[in-house]
């Protein structure tokens, strides 16, 4: 069997983390390989290396048996590797057609052949089953359509290997089926496809083989027919999947909702027709699920005053909250941790102590303490946090930028705790966090809830919500389509509801 792409002993390191610990993998033409693993297992790193965006510390990538070193994505593309990246890498100011052919424009003498570009773009979109004007600007598209343009772009290049990093994260049921058909067609044409997904059902549907990454190591490569879903999960986790040690059942949840701590009524947001309403009880962990673009992220941002709401009321413990700025929200007892920890969470040039202290309530302070922080006091407060939260850091003067994702997240949890919040809004709380710290963070969330804080967790990780949420609301295109309680909060129910198929739970359409 010929090999089109081979990876040998690839190692990649970030500060404090070995993201890939010698991964070897090979792909033959016509093979559809599923690549699975938990968040932080190294899938994205591997893809970035294959796409030429990162260079490995050691190891080689061979294309058609020839060792290659990609210095940039252009070189990787020239070698016949096309990547559909997870983040949207489209230029909002350019048209759909221009974006599809960006970097490999159809030109004659430097002049773009506009007719040809438009024609080919329309044809490509057609094969994807998209009815989209090639001249429309990207900024006018929905998230799902943007994802399809991203896929069209990958298909427009000459390639032997197509790598798709969670291509279905923003697609609905019909679109997913169309995408699967295309993947199958590509395989029959002799293209090799690497398909990354969190939804294991997909892997079994379309992949011939599956490779499992765990903590930067390739633990298994096997035909999908030789496994079932439970076994696959076992390999991903490295242990038997625990059926959730749920602390609560449905009845307890009902009690909590009765004494609503956070009450959102008819909150209307720009870009969504239906208003959002929800209640979260004292000590309840409320999950928000849905695809990218379903509105759950926007909802948490609006509650925190980071996105303007058009109308509606929010009350905490019966007191109305003025929706204005994040500062107002914090005063009212809300706190939010963003999913983008590096861009919106940490203050990289400040040490961990300062990072934890910045949102601390200090209106009650008097005199010198009012404008100058007391060093000793802060040090002892941080020391306590460090022990309570098991933050792995040598001393409180360490810069936060040098910590691992999990430890950074714990420091940010400390910030939230010190803000004295009553309602904590979490977006993707364990994204980029290693497995050990993940468990700690789940425990932290539970402890906070037990202290009476209402925790609202918005996550795209269905198993995560299934593990920690007392109750889960599922959103689709800006509408709440399901409310799952207690034992109904399962991965299957969440996934089914988020792609627009309602199974179980209360239906609200």
């Amino acid at each position: 069997m010929t090999v089109v792409l081979e990876v040998r002993d690839v190692v990649q390191e970030y500060p404090g983390v070995r993201a890939l610990k010698g991964v070897s993998l090979s792909l033959s033409p016509g093979q559809v390989l599923g690549l699975v693993g938990e968040n932080g297992a190294g899938k994205s790193t591997l893809i970035r290396i294959l796409g030429g965006i990162e260079q490995p510390v050691s190891g080689t990538v061979l294309v058609h048996g020839e060792a290659r070193q990609f210095k940039g994505s252009a070189e990787s593309q020239a070698a016949g590797i096309s990547v559909v990246s997870q983040e949207f890498r489209l230029v909002p100011q350019l048209s759909v057609a221009d974006n599809i052919f960006l970097g490999h424009e159809l030109t004659s003498g430097g002049v773009v052949a506009r007719g040809k570009v438009r024609q080919r773009a329309a044809a490509l979109l057609e094969t994807l089953g998209m009815d989209l004007e090639p001249d429309r600007l990207i900024s006018s598209l929905t998230v799902g359509d943007r994802q399809m343009v991203e896929i069209a772009r990958a298909l427009s290049r000459e390639f032997d290997v197509l790598i798709m990093d969670e291509p279905t994260a923003a697609l609905n049921g019909a679109e997913i089926r169309r995408l699967h058909a295309i993947v199958e067609k590509l395989a029959t044409q002799g293209k090799a496809v690497v398909y990354v997904s969190h939804h294991l059902a997909e892997i079994f549907d379309i992949c011939r083989d599956v490779a499992v990454l765990r903590d930067g190591e390739l633990v298994l490569t096997a035909p999908t027919t030789s496994l079932d879903e439970t076994q696959l999960v076992e390999h991903m986790l490295g242990r038997r999947p625990q059926t959730f040690e749920r602390a609560t059942d449905g009845t307890a949840t009902d009690d909590r909702t009765a004494t609503a701590r956070l009450d959102v009524r008819e909150l209307k947001l720009g870009g969504f027709d239906a208003p959002f309403s929800l209640r979260a009880g004292r000590g309840e962990i409320l999950g928000l699920a849905g695809l990218v673009g379903s509105g759950r992220t926007e909802l948490t941002r609006a509650l925190f005053g980071d996105l303007a709401a058009l109308s509606g009321t929010v009350t905490i413990d019966g007191t109305a909250v003025r929706l204005g700025t994040s500062r107002d929200a914090i005063r009212a007892g809300l706190f939010m941790l963003s999913e983008d920890r590096k861009g919106e969470g940490i203050l990289p040039h400040l040490d961990v102590t300062e990072n934890a202290m910045v949102s601390r309530e200090r209106s009650s302070l008097r005199g010198r303490a009012r404008w100058a922080p007391a060093r000793r006091g802060e040090e002892s407060v941080f020391e306590k946090l460090r022990q309570d939260m098991r933050i792995r850091v040598p001393h409180g003067r360490q810069l936060i930028g040098n910590l691992s994702g999990g430890n950074q997240q714990k420091v940010l949890f400390g910030r939230a705790l010190l803000s004295g919040c009553k309602v904590l809004l979490l977006n993707e709380p364990t994204r980029g966090v290693d497995v050990g710290a993940k468990v700690d963070i789940y425990q932290l969330i539970r402890t906070l809830a037990d202290d009476g804080v209402s925790v609202v967790v918005s996550s795209s990780d269905a198993p995560e919500l299934a593990a920690i949420a007392d109750r889960c609301l599922v959103y689709f295109a800006g509408r709440q389509v399901a409310e799952l309680r207690g034992r109904d909060v399962t991965e299957e129910n969440i996934v089914a509801a988020s792609v627009g198929q309602v199974a179980g739970g209360d239906v609200h359409v």
């Binding site: 861009g343 990289p348 040039h349 404008w371 922080p373």
Partner: protein, 338 residues
């Protein structure tokens, strides 16, 4: 000076990732020594080529020059640590100096200086509002106000020079204590205050926080906009203080008295080791940077090199310092990725 030095080194030591113990402290100390070393070598070389460099009068000149740049650079250090920048230094200095010179004949020295500082506050507020509420990028907003302020000062003076005749004012601003000019002592005091403001107050913490990551600081509920305006105000006061001493030294004030000064000030801060990207600053570095530029200018002068070379040298030194800093930082960023 030793009081400022020790804590700064402590911080520098902590900023080195992944290593514990005394080694980073030593490295941090050496890192600072290298700038001091350049200063000493430069001074020695100039002294060797032109022994006149060591004359009391000349050294005093160097210290005067260093204190003008340094006083303004204290404010600029805060701005740069906050990820901001002010190119309107020359305009603020001109307007506040003209204000001092204009009111001096009618009132006491104290009131005149106060008026000058108030002008600095007012112009700082204007810059701050343009940057925060009108949301114009700092360098371009202050480039606009530079022209605005200079235009205003020309209009105010009708393009003339405003002389200062007050003997006491000149004596106060150009006097010396021992061999050290008053202005230099004021500069050192201001530097210590700047250090304390930056590292020991909530104000300083907030400004470093949004200098480091503005989105994160906003989402942490810090008063970003208000603090930004305040930073511009504090910087405006620093510039006005520099203006007061310059007025005394020149015995006059005019629209062009500080033209091109922003380059020297930014260069002193950046060469001193404060990164333009914000988030942290070294006040001690700014002191050394100010001295370095004063010695350099003095050397060019003593060696009889055409004054036009100063443009070239200042620009080149600034860009080299930033390029070196960017190189160092990019290495650190690669390590800090992910």
């Amino acid at each position: 000076m030793s009081t400022t030095q020790a804590p700064i080194e402590q911080r520098a030591a902590d900023q080195r990732p992944g290593r514990g113990g005394s080694r980073p402290a030593v490295l941090g100390f050496l890192g600072r020594q290298y700038l001091l070393l350049i200063l000493i070598v430069l001074a020695a070389a100039v002294g060797l080529a032109r022994p006149a460099f060591w004359n009391g009068g000349n050294l005093e000149n160097v210290l005067f020059q260093a204190s003008f740049v340094g006083l303004a650079a204290c404010g600029m250090t805060l701005l740069i640590a906050a990820g901001l920048l002010d190119l309107s230094v020359a305009g603020v200095i001109a307007l506040s100096s003209i204000a001092v010179a204009k009111v001096l004949p009618y009132t006491t020295i104290g009131v005149a200086v106060l008026v000058g500082l108030l002008v600095g506050v007012g112009l700082g507020v204007l810059n701050g509002l343009l940057v925060t509420y009108v949301r114009i990028a700092p360098f371009i907003a202050t480039l606009g106000t530079l022209y605005l302020f200079q235009g205003a000062s020309f209009i105010w003076t009708s393009g003339d020079v405003v002389p200062v005749t007050s003997f006491y004012f000149r004596q106060m601003t150009t006097g010396t204590v021992g061999r050290l000019p008053v202005s230099f002592l004021v500069f050192l005091v201001l530097a210590v205050l700047t250090y304390l403001l930056l590292n020991r107050t909530y104000f300083g913490r907030t400004l470093r926080a949004f200098g480091s990551n503005e989105r994160a600081a906003t989402l942490a509920g810090m008063p970003v906009d208000r603090t930004k305006v305040l930073v511009f105000v504090v910087a405006g006061i620093c510039f006005a203080i520099a203006g007061v001493f310059m007025t005394g030294r020149l015995a006059s004030a005019e629209g062009t008295m500080a033209q091109g000064f922003e380059m020297d000030v930014i260069a002193a801060v950046v060469v001193g080791g404060t990164a333009l990207r914000g988030g942290r600053a070294t006040v001690f570095g700014t002191i050394v940077g100010a001295l370095l530029f004063a010695v350099l200018a003095n050397a060019l002068n003593l060696l009889g090199i055409a004054s036009y070379w100063q443009y070239v040298v200042t620009g080149a030194v600034l860009v080299v310092a930033i390029a070196l800093g960017a190189r160092r930082r990019s290495a650190a960023e690669v390590r800090g990725a992910g």
